[in-house]
Symmetry: C2
Subunit: 719 residues, 2 copies
């Protein structure tokens, strides 16, 4: 499934962090020449900014007038979930639809031994029975303000990389703080085109969010890992929440009308959601680095975690329940990154990237800017392409330690994340907001504390296994004699170390976390909690690696890509969408099937196909159907369209995105790409690549015939 995106992962790793410049549009010729991509007058590529929408393209290709009113309603009805996905309001009373696999984080946290809402599903017949999620936050975009000038003004030409980074961080924090104070809205400065533009995004925030409806996981993820990123697909991957304000359902006058009929073949459709990250304009050197360093590391890490979660799950039914979302999360990421990796090992795709690097129009821009090629400082300037290659060379030297120690891959338990936040908050809070590490800026503190003090259940044995696995992975990656490994293991082997950390920590208890937060630097410095002691012990090295990453990689790359962006703006104009940044975007496309190996796949599946496939595979997991479905088969119209596909441009983070028709009605809920779409991080194609959505009619049919959910249907349809 479209991977969820870590919330606020401004400093994430593995492609979940920085934005890059401009989409692939202008390569159409080169790609077509390579025989890989179709050449169309206007392709459906692009994850467009809501304040710079593709009006001209829609007009030209689809004769569609994108009105301000259409856009405004779509924006105010689109929702970002801090569990890493998208959703949309579907009633004026705060009712929200998203994917089951996005809701799963909350559904899991609302479950306990004996009450498995993932397995059994959930429906609140009355509002009183809706279940409050422990730590789910919703953001609804209200306004976008261009702050590029203010941000750029803070960075002076002669600053060192380190100073430039600090100055930019400070001004962004200040803008966000001022905006929050002025509007009361969550305010985030978003870096677009990797520094070409800075936009302030203002969000309405909901932290009282309640579960209304979830189907059984067996039908939400029918086919499980086997069918993930595959099509045809038969998944009821939807859940409903309700946003509350002041203890009452939130008023959401801008909502999406639920379509009874859904799309037809050839229909123009829109996706409004929060695509996480793309790397379409990265240079060949950057992608080669991903191929040869980042992705092999990532795949090894995910496999180690997945194996550990599987082995933990095998031990009992209750273990299986506890690990379900962790396991899904790593398996899903493993499949997505495996697809990316095969893409980067495909010589055809790398040849395209070679062509991109050698685009004559950009090369001309460069030679005109620096003729003869040299830097403004008088030394020979090898150009952004070669400079980016040099940056990768520097990055290699400390990428693994940085990922393990600062990103935290060596300590794969949320308990360590909590310990680190407590340790760092004690250091950072006494500073002025603009001088803090970015995640501790004033405007982000409420959201951070909401997570930090979450009462969501954690299971000691599960956390122990994750810690042992990640500490072992640390040793595997750096070697048992490495200083950082010895620091983390403290004279034990990973098994013994994980055991003592989990046995000794009090951080399972939210009250213990709050006490340390309230106690500040003194409490943290005196704490003997082994996880706090660990977080303190590794912090100097982790901060050192972070600073090195920021100055030697992030800042330097930003400068090079900004230069490339400038060349591209000059050569090709500015009417292109930026790479994805887990902010609201509009994509468009055409509903339509495709061919694989001579076989034509229809644009939608049906309920009947789910029953057929399950029967063919003896109802064996993950092709088992819930009892409710088996018993209720005769009640269903088996021809009901279940899932459908379109060419619209999506990526991880788009999970749960509303799919709209020309009238702005909700006709589907996006939940996945097919495997041909796994290379979308790097290139857009529409020959076979499709996103996959739950058909709006299937949700109504299932709710009406199988679930005792008449009030929910009435709220959606008025009937």
């Amino acid at each position: 499934m479209t991977p969820r995106v870590a919330f606020g992962a401004a400093r994430g790793y593995n492609g979940l962090h920085t934005t890059r410049v401009l989409p692939m549009r202008y390569y159409a010729l080169a790609l077509a020449a390579l025989g890989v991509l179709p050449m169309t007058a206007v392709s459906d590529e692009g994850m467009w900014l809501l304040n710079d929408p593709p009006r001209a393209q829609l007009k030209e290709k689809y004769k569609f007038d994108l009105t301000d009113a259409w856009l405004k309603n779509a924006m105010l009805a689109s929702v970002r979930l801090n569990s890493g996905g998208s959703g949309g309001f579907v009633s004026p009373d705060g009712l929200l639809v998203t994917n089951h696999h996005v809701a799963a984080d909350s559904i899991q946290k609302l479950s306990k031994a004996g009450t498995d809402l993932m397995r059994d599903g959930f429906y609140a017949e009355t509002r009183e029975k809706e279940l409050k999620c422990p730590d789910l936050e919703l953001n609804v975009l209200q306004e976008i303000v261009d702050v590029t000038k203010e941000v750029n003004a803070a960075v002076k030409p002669n600053m060192t990389g380190s100073d430039a980074f600090a100055a930019r961080r400070a001004v962004m924090s200040q803008i966000e703080k001022d905006s929050l104070d002025k509007t009361g809205l969550r305010s985030d400065v978003v870096t677009l085109y990797n520094g070409g533009l800075y936009h302030l995004y203002r969000y309405k925030k909901y932290t009282d969010v309640r579960l209304v409806f979830a189907p059984e996981k067996a039908i939400a993820s029918f086919g499980g890992d086997v069918d993930n990123f595959e099509y045809p697909r038969m998944n009821l991957d939807v859940s409903f929440f309700r946003a509350y304000e002041n203890g009452a359902p939130a008023k959401t006058p801008n909502f999406l009308k639920w379509s009874e009929t859904g799309p037809a073949a050839g229909d123009l459709v829109f996706v409004t959601g929060h695509p996480g990250t793309t790397q379409r304009l990265e240079t060949l050197a950057r992608l080669t680095h991903r191929r040869d360093y980042t992705l092999p590391y990532t795949l090894a890490r995910l496999r180690a975690l997945e194996a550990a979660m599987l082995q933990f799950s095998e031990q009992s039914g209750e273990n299986r329940r506890q690990a379900a979302t962790d396991l899904h999360s790593v398996a899903n990421a493993r499949k997505a990154f495996s697809g990316q990796y095969q893409g980067l090992l495909d010589p055809k795709i790398m040849a395209q990237k070679f062509e991109s690097d050698n685009d004559p129009k950009l090369r001309k821009q460069w030679s005109e800017a620096y003729e003869p090629p040299q830097s403004p400082l008088g030394v020979t300037n090898p150009g952004p392409w070669a400079n980016i290659e040099l940056i990768q060379k520097a990055y290699r030297e400390f990428e693994k330690p940085h990922a393990l120690f600062e990103t935290g891959h060596a300590f794969a338990s949320p308990l360590f994340g909590t310990a680190r936040h407590l340790v760092r908050l004690a250091d950072e809070l006494p500073k002025k907001s603009p001088d803090r590490l970015r995640e501790y800026r004033d405007s982000n503190l409420d959201s951070l504390k909401f997570q930090l003090f979450s009462p969501a259940p954690l299971y000691p044995e599960l956390e122990r296994v994750k810690l042992q696995t990640s500490l072992t992975f640390l040793a595997e990656q750096l070697g048992g004699g490495h200083d950082l490994v010895k620091l983390a293991l403290a004279g034990k082997n990973p098994a013994q170390r994980a055991e003592e950390l989990i046995a000794g920590t009090k951080l399972f208890d939210p009250a213990a976390r709050r006490a340390l937060f309230d106690g500040g630097a003194k409490a943290v410095s005196e704490s003997k909690d082994p996880l706090i002691v660990l977080a303190k012990a590794v912090d100097a090295d982790a901060r050192r690696l972070r600073a090195r990453y920021e100055t030697e990689v992030e800042e330097r790359e930003r400068q090079q890509y900004a230069q490339l962006a400038e060349f591209r703006f000059k050569a090709y104009g500015s009417s292109v969408a930026p790479d994805a940044t887990f902010t609201l975007r509009l994509a468009f496309g055409t509903v339509g099937g495709y061919e694989v190996g001579g076989q034509k796949l229809n644009f939608h599946t049906t309920f009947g196909e789910a029953f057929e496939k399950s029967a063919k595979l003896d109802g064996r997991e993950p092709f088992d159907l819930p009892k409710r479905w088996l018993d209720g088969k005769d009640k269903l119209d088996l021809k009901t369209p279940f899932n459908f596909v379109s060419t619209a441009d999506t990526i991880g983070g788009n999970s749960g995105s509303p799919v709209l028709n020309r009238a702005g009605e909700l006709i589907g809920v996006n939940f996945d790409r097919n495997r041909h779409g796994l290379v979308r991080n790097f290139v857009y194609t529409d020959v076979q690549a499709r996103h996959i959505a739950v058909h709006s009619a299937s949700v109504l049919e299932a709710l009406r015939k199988l679930y005792p959910a008449a009030p929910l249907v009435k709220e959606l349809t008025g009937k």
Copy 2:
């Protein structure tokens, strides 16, 4: 479970290859001082040569006289299986017991879609119904001859490493050929003490082996991967074969009498079997290399394969059946190597190894031999410890390419192995036997062809997945731009490459293999079979890496360890067992339980405990019991001892080893170690480490009450 050992794995990897010198006995003091190991007058450590048995130790500690008659019967009744384990004759008519997980290789090959002997078990009520295994070979040791002098005489003092290696290989091949011609027996020269001794082992060989009885996998491996390497344990991990000669059951007058009663607590017991490999006397530098290079690589490789096999298995019941033994094999290895890795990350164990390297008596030997420390060539000799460290440094440079290309980890399908053999046979057979790569010597050809032309089924989709996984792993390890990767992938990504190799090859058909073999160099050179073309394309690099390994690592290490062995012989005498070499050894120990976390574990489990554990875990896989067992529960005496443990010294390869009492009767069938025994590759301990065996009484009780196997019981007991 005790991992199976690749047959004839003279050139294996990951610790499955070379022998090392002497056991840990003389460290007893140092270890005891560290508080880790118990200090006993005589410990139960040792995997003893049958021609140099531990008579004195047995006399001193157990007052047991090991007679020649006892030894001879044990030797002639002990069997090595080419599927990588051990077994024992248990009737005069060629009836043989081994583990189910050793037999699994053949049981799987005898299964097909719709006939799943792994799941359902098998019993041949009459000899006519016994099923002939497609490629199972048994070896029964008949005689050991010391050929140390002949081998050493061939290697002259001034030879280069490469010449020394070739000369030794040649003389060994010649000795084997002469022995085969003279006796008609399979003849293998075995390197003991890593070059301290060379013994010729003569085996009687059986290649007509038929399946008599196998229980359902669910009871043979009750608890599956979860309980693997754990105790308490309730596994009926046994199967029976029968050896045939000239179409009739083989006469095996030397067999082991099946004990009705089995062992009591405190009993002296013996294990006769074929332990694969140990590394107890490796230096700290060698073990550090394993910790920081070999094991992380191995774990990454196994996890990639395991994940792929799991994902393949999830797709359907038939896929699951096809992948069952492959999946078990990698999961088992992963668990064993994970235990080893935690052991090497344990600072206490590494401290022991540091002490070993700095043993004053050995250091004294060294300084006396080379005072002042220098080599015979006049240059300063840093001693074997430092030299071995230098060898590791050289090894690091090409260990991965060697493992991937020559050991074949990049091409993880038996079809590639077949292709490589065909390509190399075409090159090697025209040479004289002593000049060939060792596996193609005349005396080994029959066994090799038996494997090569095996009609055992292979499944295209399964082989495709394994190839894709291993080709992907190749790229992950070396990087997508590495010459060897480009050579192997030939302009495709791993997914595309695996698809074209499997779609195009004819090697699934044994007749196609035979045609290429018969056609020799001309047929192979003209072949367009994509796997043959691949094997030809990579062969020059693979051979180059092999030669480099042999001369820069294998030969050099052998010289250094031989020097260390010489020091040890002088300091501590020669009454010590060599490290394991997948040849017949005798171990001894005491039957007895142990404590874990304050809990006392009995020396045996019972049938009742299997039913209790299954019920407690809702009969969920891998804790499901076969229908036969659930239905027949009331017929069973639930107090019957099921599995038991003793302190005897075992390792991978000992799977299926007969466990004998003082009278030489079979009282159990070894099948595993507990997790405390996973560090036995490096150190022997008896505080908690135990091997685990199926109790002889449990086999009889199950056969009598649950299976319609009266004739088998009668053959075992005479009743």
